[in-house]
């Protein structure tokens, strides 16, 4: 702990070592979205109930709004910005485009990161994808297209 009031936080974000000045109450969402300006990490409810802020911590999907930033000292965080670029889409991002799994786009980064982690966790059916993505809300109603995109990349 650097000093009691504002400890400096070290994170590896999208492969890059970052040192961040943040109050002890900061969530990982605050740090990523506001301090580091990784605005692909969306704030939908700030209460862990929508999944828009989903990021990967050491490869596992978590909700950044529920994560106290200080708890993640030294961890490797991956946000949507670290997955692919418009010029070089990740296969899952490309599948989202092809399947029109995007409408307003606000839940999209969270859906993609959640889907990516879910594929890594091992899913064997479309049913399992639906269940596994249920922590990511979508209000436009892109669900079937989202599941189709994830299923395609999962080889189902």
């Amino acid at each position: 702990m650097a000093d009691a009031g504002r400890p400096a936080l070290s994170l590896t974000v999208n492969g890059e070592a970052r040192r961040i000045d943040a109050p002890p109450t900061a969530t990982l969402l605050d740090v990523l979205r506001d301090t580091l300006r990784l605005t692909g990490v969306k704030k939908g409810c700030d209460m862990g109930a929508c999944g828009a802020c989903t990021v990967l911590a050491d490869g596992r999907r978590i909700k950044a709004c529920l994560a106290l930033a200080a708890s993640y000292e030294g961890r490797a965080i991956t946000t949507i910005e670290g997955i692919g670029t418009p010029e070089a889409l990740h296969p899952l991002q490309a599948a989202f485009v092809r399947h029109d799994a995007v409408q307003c786009g606000y839940c999209t980064p969270g859906q993609i990161l959640s889907g990516l982690a879910l594929i890594g966790e091992g899913v064997d059916s479309v049913e399992a994808i639906r269940e596994g993505l249920s922590g990511n809300l979508c209000r436009c109603g892109a669900h079937p297209n989202i599941v189709a995109a994830v299923a395609e990349v999962a080889g189902l």
Binding site: P23, T25, R33, D34, R37, L38, T39, G40, V41, K42, K43, G44, C45, D46, M47, A49, C50, A52, T79, I80, E81, I83, G84, T85, P86, L89, Q93, F96, V97, R98, D100, V102, Q103, C104, G105, Y106, C107, T108, P109, I112, I129, R130, E131, L133, S134, G135, N136, L137, C138, R139, C140, G141, A142, H143, P144, N145, I146, V147
Partner: protein, 721 residues
């Protein structure tokens, strides 16, 4: 049938990579953050706002309330920001501004309010005696009478009289409302996710008494809206803009999810008394549809809930009435198929019940009552493919419908139900600017908004097709009042409004190219008549002779500065036709009567909505609408604490919307429909999915377990046992 291409969403790559910048994410130097101070009472007056305790806190920058907002030139849209009256619990009474969001929230908490509380009406049933007829419902009369429904119902061979109720719903776009604003002298830029940038611009200009061209409103990306990103957000946005002017610094205000429950509107709660009468052959002889709805004490709002009863079916005797009750609760605002969705829930549930009583198949009953012209105005339909939509019954397998209560799949009782869907066609004026560069790069600009429905793509597609260019050549700019004014986003009317404008603009561009190429002796197309030229595949080609030239070559040679023009469309006036888009929705549900669980398993929707520009995106719209309707049917309900008037359960853990695991299989059929009477032949698809599916689900539940549920949402307690 002409094959319609479905380019993928134009902005999709930005969205899937997190590079699409939503307005709250607009970077600004020296930004301050804002938080609202909420009233703890549901009715009363603010006697004083003591910011003293906040002023000493770290980062404090400003505090604005109704007193500071007196500088606004009064208008109805900013009334709540200017008056000390409290109409509902949680109503903002001040805005605290500080260096960080956490500091602003601490400052807001520290503000002391001196309040005079008064008794509050926290539910409609506490004030039924005060119900009154509003001036209008939507844009139509509140009360109508055709024929003599009283006599018709008295003489009918079958009469059903029932009460239907629909709960308060909230829109809940995934992106909360926000504003990032900054002044430069007496000019202001306002980044806010809004469905109406130009109306927002006019409001800001009016309130601050500056010319509209000194107000720039930007809404390039919007994380959904569904009706709530409009006027009810304005008072709080205006406080942020005022604070920005007072502090001379950019200010950001973002609503919390909890605030989306009461600050930005809701689907109106309804209690509907519906009587329908039939003759022995199942023809409707009389309808009496009386609607009671909630409104707030600071505004009279009424959805046109009973409107569908006026014209969906041929019926000679129809009475419709709407009454509203003012309560100390938030004000409703249009939400996904406003009026039509709750109205159809009642009407289409009643028709299903009647079909059972009459021993007529539910589809056949609707076919018998098909209206071959608009029964309300006597005008012909611009087009009406409803009967073709019903034919989708075959696709669903309707003729194999099991006997009620007989089909099972393990623990599930299976039920099938159907309903008609309908949504009226409306238009707004629209202007677009198009510009083609010498390299055949095409820019289209329109001051409308894309909140996820696909306006970027559809506009780009029309423009690309207009010059026969690939989508890669097109750039579309929307959501900025520096662009030509386009329609607000709502009522399923944006595509219908911009299509003729874009097509006009593209025709002008083609004419400009044709004129230049015809006059150019060096071109193989020299002297070609304009209507001899075809634009396709990046070429301009003659129909009559074997001659063609690349569009880029023509432009590089003949329009080195590019070509630019505008197109405009207006809402058609005095239409000789009535216009609706239609659908028929078939649903299979599973009900576990022991556990009370209800799952939609399969939805087949057939829709006819004029010309479909992009089937891929249209399908997404239909499915999205259906999912919204499933939420309304089975999940969504805002609960209000009667003692305090507070919303109980203002999180996504309490207010349930459907999740991935709730999704049925969707089969969407889009019928070809040429409508020669509508501009561009376009109707609108956004609302159709959300209209009708609620009744189809309720009808399927009845078919599965014999329980006729007339209140939405249908929940465990309604079907158990």
């Amino acid at each position: 049938m002409t094959r319609v291409e479905s380019p993928v969403r134009l902005e999709a790559a930005l969205k899937v990579t997190g590079r699409a910048v939503y307005e709250a994410e607009t970077p600004m130097t020296g930004m301050l953050h804002a938080a609202l101070v909420e009233a703890p009472i549901a009715n009363g007056r603010v006697l004083g706002v003591d910011g003293g305790p906040a002023r000493g806190l770290p980062g404090f920058a400003d505090l604005v309330s109704y007193a500071e907002a007196e500088v606004f030139k009064p208008s109805g849209s900013t009334a709540l920001a200017r008056e000390p009256r409290i109409h509902f619990a949680g109503q903002p009474v001040a805005l605290a501004v500080a260096g960080t969001l956490h500091e602003a929230e601490a400052c807001a908490r520290a503000v002391r309010l001196d309040l005079a509380a008064e008794p509050a009406v926290t539910a409609m049933d506490q004030a039924l005696e005060t119900a009154f007829a509003p001036d209008i419902v939507g844009r139509y009369p509140a009360t109508t009478l055709r024929g003599d429904p009283g006599a018709a119902l008295a003489e009918a061979s079958l009469v059903l009289r029932n009460r239907y109720e629909t709960a308060v719903n909230n829109h809940h776009p995934m992106e909360p409302h926000s504003v990032v604003c900054a002044w430069d002298g007496d000019r202001v830029v306002v980044h806010t996710g809004t469905q109406a940038i130009f109306a927002t611009q006019r409001l800001v200009a009016h309130a601050f008494q500056i010319p509209a061209d000194q107000v720039r409103v930007v809404s390039r990306f919007m994380g959904g809206g569904f009706g709530c990103k409009g006027q009810l957000w304005w008072p709080w946005m205006m406080w942020a803009i005022l604070a920005s002017r007072r502090t001379g610094r950019p200010v950001r205000l973002e609503l919390t999810r909890a605030q989306l429950f009461n600050l930005v509107g809701r689907r109106q709660e309804t209690v509907q008394d519906l009587a329908i009468g039939f003759d022995a052959e199942g023809r409707l002889t009389g309808i009496d549809h009386a609607v009671l709805g909630q409104t707030a004490t600071h505004g009279d709002y009424a959805d046109g809930t009973a409107r569908v009863s006026r014209w969906l079916y041929a019926c000679p005797n129809v009475a419709t009435t709407h009454r509203i009750v003012r309560t100390n609760e938030p004000l409703p605002i249009p939400m996904r198929a406003p009026g039509v969705a709750p109205g159809l829930f009642a009407l289409e549930s009643a028709l299903d019940e009647a079909a059972g009583r009459l021993g007529i198949d539910p589809v056949e009953l609707r076919v018998r009552n098909y209206a071959s012209k608009d029964p309300e105005t006597d005008r012909p339909w611009s087009s009406n493919s409803l009967l073709d939509c019903y034919a989708a019954a075959e696709r669903f397998g309707w003729s194999g419908r099991p006997a009620a209560g007989k089909a099972r799949d393990g623990r599930w009782r299976i039920g099938w139900g159907m309903a008609t869907s309908v949504y009226p066609v409306h238009h707004q004026p629209c202007r677009v600017r198009v510009r083609v560069e010498p390299d055949a790069g095409l820019l289209v600009q329109c001051g409308t908004q894309d909140f996820g429905q696909g306006a970027y793509t559809a506009i780009g597609q029309l423009a690309a097709e207009g010059l026969g260019l690939p989508m890669d050549n097109v750039r579309v700019e929307l959501g900025d009042t520096d662009l030509p004014e386009g329609p607000f986003t709502g009522g399923s009317m944006v595509t219908a409004s911009f299509t003729p404008a874009v097509e006009t603009a593209m025709a002008r561009l083609r004419a400009m190219v044709a004129e230049r190429v015809a006059a150019d002796g060096a071109s193989p197309l020299a002297d070609a008549a304009p209507d001899d030229l075809v634009f396709e595949g990046g070429l301009v080609r003659s129909r009559s002779r074997n001659a063609a030239e690349g569009l880029a070559e023509i432009l590089a040679r003949l329009a080195p500065d590019g070509l630019e023009t505008e197109g405009a469309s207006a809402a058609p006036e005095n239409m000789a036709f009535s216009a609706n888009a239609y659908g028929a929705i078939f649903v299979e549900v599973g009900v576990d009567p022991d556990l009370g669980e209800i799952r939609v398993r399969r939805v087949c929707g057939a829709f006819a909505a004029g010309r479909i520009l992009n089937p891929l995106l249209a399908r997404s719209q239909y499915v999205g609408g259906l999912i919204g309707g499933i939420g309304m049917a089975l999940h969504e309900q805002v609960a209000t604490d009667r003692a305090s008037g507070r919303i109980v359960g203002d999180t996504f853990a309490d207010y349930l919307i459907p999740v991935h695991a709730d999704m049925p299989e969707f089969d969407v059929l889009m019928l070809d429909e040429d409508d020669p009477h509508l501009p561009g032949g376009v109707k609108g698809v956004g609302m159709l999915g959300t209209a009708g599916v609620q009744a189809a689900i309720a009808n399927a539940v009845f078919h599965a377990v014999g329980k006729r549920v007339r209140r939405l949402p249908i929940r465990i307690e309604d079907v158990i046992g």
